[in-house]
Symmetry: C2
Subunit: 339 residues, 2 copies
DNA sequence: CTGAAAGCGCTTACAG
DNA sequence: CTGAAAGCGCTTACAG
């Protein structure tokens, strides 16, 4: 009289192995207070019937959730997918599951929607990549709800236990050094939107990197894009229309760099002969496009994993050091000395 | 003496509004058997305290899960992200959440891992895009577990209630017509891996489309790739090394098409003057690469939404018609008449 | 090392 | 229309 799969309960296992349900519970939860023989017997019955404890019942009794939320508004699919995998790498041997929540900061019900999501679900914790991680009001709300969280960000806005830091500025600095090394003097920068801290960090690092080579970044050659192909294209058009166009351009991400390629082609400007281009992110398109794009790479998946591990870590063991990641420059064929 | 947020229970609400917890439950569940005045009073208390029922407790009492799983091995990030959003579009006004589970069919613990995942979590349902959707053994296991599911696939392997069908072959047929219309005769096809049904469907549709124009697809010009950039590159090299290279090539996806671009560049072959290229999927790279790629577009997000809706639909209202999507051809600059 | 009782926060028949 | 009781499947003190 075996019940259909998935309907076996702790009571069935207890009855079948001739112990109380409490003992079964102890076996499930690896309590040391079970005689080896008893444990083996119970374990055998569990295996035989493919029993696994009902997750919701467990969650209820333990007053604990087994769900981790990832809340994001990042526009790059590659970024999202890599980070999801990284988080799952960290959760793999826990019994936590990953619930995803894409959103749009510009949208009407954005804040209310996430608040409801957080309050209702009572997650074990939440992981916040940029730019959601930069929304202090949102993070405050999450914290108030008693939900743990980890933010991934290019600036420190929180304590070490809640932060995975990316040194975005250093990546931009490396890009600046590379461009300066090649001998460029007239250098442009297409920034990301001002609402992303990363775009400030990348700007700052780039400006600093050039300064270290005695080059001043001309404000007239700094344009604001929106991290999209279209804005990269538009900004590049404006640069190419100038009387003295730049010989090199650093874009806030790869996506905008592809817009620069497009504009260059339409204007009959050759890459890298007439214009050198450096991107940021090392998305797959960087090595598919021609000439292949010199760019800055951040280990997204490992960042996601670090965020997951931080969330799982015992909060009482307060880490004093920030977990952080430094980007590296990947040199390809889109950069060359100026003519 | 208000308890901290998130800790308010149905008992608190009952006490504060002077009714039994059952009545509160009735209000929560929109039962008609509550006097409007009572309902309003209870509702007010709920709002005031920001109460929302504990999801796990509800799930336990109702013997129902509020989690939907998406299980996938698709290699394209854009595909994944779009489908996730589509599924979430469908779940938006339910109280279901989306749990993700990327996997790798070639990996050692693949099957066991998913089985454990399914048995433990007892999902409301699962959504399976290709190629996971083509794994009959996996689907059988899911069904046996009593878990509902919807598969998205290019061939019908199941009943209408469990299927979102994509007419992959029609998209390929359109690609064939376009190439034939341009006047090409020597035409190649770089297929996807044989383990994906979509690659068979696309091959079949392409072959059929050419036949309708009286053109026979030369088996010597059909190569098997792996849906990756690298395999597209390799296959293209073999084509370009032939004594009579083809003047047009249809690749099983965009990713492989970008490999063909690369190989063409290295061989000094111009697109589209020397070789016309048609891809499949209309991923963002298709319109970023130069010349922009002619390709076949499938509405991934809407497909995901349809899958979600099917999962939510009352299974007793057996649909007799298959939900299906037909791809469209997007003509860009990578195709032209042969010289 | 093991068991009987109470409880996690909700809902479902069953009375009234 | 409303309430008291029992139950969903698990765990946590508390005894023994």
């Amino acid at each position: 009289m075996i019940k259909p799969t998935g309907k076996v309960t702790i009571n069935d296992i207890a009855r079948l192995s001739g112990v109380s349900k409490k003992t079964v519970s102890r076996v499930i939860n690896d309590s040391p207070k079970v005689r080896p023989a008893t444990r083996a017997r119970v374990q055998a019955v569990i295996e035989e019937h493919g029993y696994s404890p009902h997750p919701e019942a467990r969650a209820l009794a333990l007053r604990k959730s087994y769900l981790v939320a990832m809340i994001y508004d990042n526009p790059s699919p590659q970024y999202i997918v890599n980070m999801q995998r990284g988080i799952l790498d960290a959760l793999e041997h826990s019994d936590l599951q990953l619930v995803i929540r894409p959103c749009d900061r510009g949208e009407e019900g954005y804040f209310g929607g996430i608040r409801k999501f957080i309050k209702q679900q009572r997650f074990f914790g939440a992981i916040l990549p940029p730019s959601v991680s930069e929304d202090q009001e949102l993070v405050d709300m999450i914290e108030e709800s008693g939900c743990r969280y980890v933010r991934i960000a290019s600036v420190i806005m929180d304590s070490p236990g809640n932060t995975v830091k990316t040194h975005d500025s250093e990546g931009a600095e490396k890009a600046a050094h590379h461009i300066a090394d090649l001998g460029h003097q007239r250098i442009a920068h297409i920034r990301g939107p001002l609402s992303f801290r990363s775009s400030h960090e990348r700007y700052r690092g780039f400006e600093l990197g050039l300064r270290e080579y005695g080059i001043r970044l001309d404000p007239g050659l700094v344009l604001e894009g929106g991290y999209t192909f279209e804005t990269g294209f538009e900004c590049a058009r404006r640069l190419f229309d100038m009387d003295h166009p730049p010989t090199a351009v650093f874009t806030g991400n790869d996506e905008m760099a592809t817009g620069v390629y497009q504009a260059a082609r339409q204007a009959g400007i050759r890459v890298p002969e007439d214009i050198s281009i450096v991107g940021y992110d090392d998305t797959p398109i960087a090595s598919r496009i021609w000439p292949r794009l010199t760019t800055v790479r951040l280990p997204i998946r490992r960042m996601g994993q670090a965020a997951g591990e931080l969330l799982l870590a015992d909060p009482t063991e307060t880490t004093q050091r920030y977990v952080s990641f430094t980007p590296e420059l990947v040199v390809r064929e889109s950069t060359a000395p100026p003519k």
